[in-house]
Symmetry: C2
Subunit: 473 residues, 2 copies
């Protein structure tokens, strides 16, 4: 008996700001397999090079592909899973050299040209283990009988990615276990030169710590131009992500700061630049100077997803309300070289609408801005929920990571997941505390982490990146 | 009688990818005003400089602020509107110099420190026209009676921004009229040097055309380094937005292209880089060389929102389904200098869940990627809807803007709203077609357009930017 239970990917309420729709699909191992494989012995069509460099460790392998009826086929996987595919799906996903440009991997057939007319039939399904792909002959009726109009080519690795995509969407269901959370006492440490000049495994180890633990500390950077230090780091992933603060920025106390960070006051835990549609992903803060006589100024980090999970446990109503009512975040500041007027509306908490697991926390009180007028009753409840979250953050001292940066150290963290801050400090004349900062785009970080994982032959990563589940299929 | 109808901002189904929650709030002019203003004559607290440089033309003015009861106050506007504010709202939005840092405009009080205890009372409400702000004395009971714990300062312009925010959210309801659509026969033309070296009104005119018409053509750029041409343009807004293709990119036919654009084939209408969380906003394509003997290669543009509106009218079911089932967009390409593995899932159409108006169209068939497995029945309907949209695009020739770029011309368009493409061309030996391209971040474009509009004393813009209504309050 073959059972494949499917559900429509649901775009749930409250998912504004997250791009991972909730979906659930249960794939039940078959008790028996449908029969009907037909080998017609046609010449194998030319195929595009495989998308991924080589199968990952633990990659499911395709065992068989069989025609079910004139419009569907089934795939049997080494994991015991059975997948049913519709002809329309297969036709769209074809990766033959006509459908996909070999060099770029881009699709070359545009709708409506590649639309089915609903009189097509699957004429043959061939699993070609040597070539590593499944071929489907698609035929249309003509006065002289069925005629093959296209041979669809589905590489095994592309099918495995779709299998994974289906699972990744279902994985948003999984419980946030302590293993997913950052261990405060365990800030990962790497050598700066290993990351910038080292080999791929050394580079990957740093990326993987930021992906899984949310943060990493680099030590022993060579002295010299601090701008080059952070730009070189960003270049190991992609490039600096420029913002209204420039390609890099200086965190140093000044008289009339254009940002609170550029003073000596304490910075409570928060995230940076949440008024951008895509809030910067990684942040690197390189300590260029921090005189030992300066009191205070310790750097602080806290896992925002862990905080959100605590609020859910302690005050479910607050957790719910912070998903429903969006906060305004803004940088509206005209008294600067380039006036800024950036405004975003997003909920403070985004959770999986089915499991209720937190997917993203956005916490940046300094940048909360002009709110639309709210109904008075709702208003009071909303600000109570907001204060409750603030209290959880303040009281979660067990989650606090505290570190006083030494010169030539670099604090690296995922700004989408980790809250950061610093203790206030007292400057003595002639002494300075000077950090050089840079951001890296979240998509480019995920791309680098995922592709290096592939190139190293590792399993695809399963880390959360603070904006839902990372797109790793 | 005072009636203020409010509704909770609703985070509607299908809003993944859009950040503008649907909200409706009807503010009905009062027939009479509540009484109860109390002037206690306290010294005016120090206030932060106004957020916006000066009131815009048509800016609503505050006429009065009155206490309603111990927890609410009402505002009366020059437009006849009446707004009721809760104490919790006002407390959060306070912009006195204790709550907000004067230089940066950032908020300095963090929850839970600024949480109300629910025993506070409004003791006085003062509208101070000379200072341009409303003051609220907030008191708490003590053994010796009520004691003022804070004087909230609400500048008139900040209140006007919240009034506007409330309206902007409601404005997503408005009908997409032909006035909002791009007139194909009317591609706006500006001189390159007016934009790069001209005054603020000349710069603004170019930005405003891109905001309202989706595109503009620049002519008569000085010859020379094409990279400098596009970087100088981006610098008039903010800076180039770097992507996996670099800070700028060359569109020129090559042998083994890493992108279909880098060949001579036709490019059907599409958008670029939709696999980024924040798809690039503006795109500038500067024509460095395009020999007159080359046949074909004309540039094409089409308004994606107009296309989406047509699909809604012609095939409402397809329009609905394309909002419900997300498409996968990706760049998974290992055979390049920096391997790329970027994947995003988003619906092809995002519409306002209440009015059904299209807010964003994402159309990029070359970058459609590995789909999760879909239920066969749904699958067939989905790809039919997808083909129907493709047919609307193909048949909407009346919306097509076609222009053959001349050397030293620059095509500028909003990549979030406009589809672009080109006709195929035939190269003769020794002749080239070479465009230099650059992207600009959508938030930085909106920021520049909005702030220049303010600095010029114009009304705040009301354009759509292809990701819902722009955040212009």
């Amino acid at each position: 008996m073959l059972r494949v239970l499917t559900r429509l990917p649901r775009l749930g309420r409250g998912l504004v700001g997250a791009r991972w729709p909730a979906a659930a699909r249960t794939i039940v191992p078959a008790e028996s397999l449908a029969l009907g494989r037909r080998h017609l012995g046609l010449a194998s069509p030319e195929t595009q090079v495989n998308v991924l460099p080589r199968p990952s460790e633990g990659h499911p392998h395709l065992l068989a592909a069989d025609q079910s009826d004139s419009a569907t086929l089934t795939l049997e996987w080494s994991t015991g899973q059975i997948t049913t595919l519709d002809l329309a799906w297969a036709f769209h996903q074809c990766r033959c050299s006509t459908c996909v440009q070999a060099g770029s991997g881009q699709r070359q057939r545009y709708p409506p040209d590649n639309a089915l007319q609903h009189n097509e039939e699957l004429q043959a399904v061939r699993w070609q283990p040597q070539q590593g792909h499944v071929e489907l002959d698609v035929a249309r009726p003509t006065p002289t009988g069925l005629q093959v109009i296209h041979t669809v080519v589905l590489p095994e690795d592309a099918l495995a990615r779709s299998l994974r995509a289906t699972q990744v969407l279902a994985d948003t269901r999984r419980t946030l276990t302590p293993l997913n959370l950052v261990e405060p006492a365990n800030l990962a440490v790497h050598r700066y030169t290993d990351v910038v000049q080292g080999d791929t495994p050394q580079l990957f180890a740093w990326l993987d710590d930021m992906a899984n633990k949310g943060a990493a500390l680099l030590v022993d950077a060579p002295a010299g131009d601090p701008d080059a230090r952070v730009v070189d780091l960003a270049a190991r992933i992609s490039q600096p992500m420029p913002t209204i603060y420039g390609a890099t920025f200086d965190v140093v106390a000044t008289e009339n700061p254009i940002n609170i960070a550029y003073s000596s006051v304490a910075l409570d835990l928060h995230q940076d630049l949440v008024y951008y549609e895509s809030t910067p992903g990684l942040q690197f803060l390189h300590c260029a100077d921090f005189h030992e006589t300066i009191e205070g100024g310790e750097s602080l980090l806290m896992d925002g997803l862990a905080v959100a999970a605590r609020l859910r446990d302690q005050d479910p109503d607050a957790y719910h309300l912070l998903q429903q009512v969006p906060m305004t975040f803004e940088k509206v500041h005209y008294d600067r070289a380039l006036p800024a007027h950036l405004v975003a509306q997003r909920p403070i908490i985004t959770a999986d609408p089915e499991s209720g697991e937190p997917l993203e926390l956005v916490w940046a009180p300094p940048f909360e801005g002009a709110l639309p007028f709210l109904e008075p009753g709702l208003c009071r409840r909303y600000f109570d929920a907001y204060a409750a979250l603030g209290m959880v953050i303040r009281e979660s001292t067990d989650l606090l990571i505290e570190h006083r940066l030494l010169p030539n150290e670099t604090l690296c963290f995922n700004n989408r997941r980790m809250l950061h801050g610093r203790r206030s400090f007292v400057l003595h004349e002639g002494h300075i505390r000077f950090l050089k900062g840079v951001y890296v785009n979240i998509d480019e970080f995920v791309s680098r982490h995922t592709s290096l994982s592939q190139l190293l032959g590792l399993s695809l990563p399963t880390a959360r990146y603070g904006h839902g589940v990372a797109p790793m299929w």
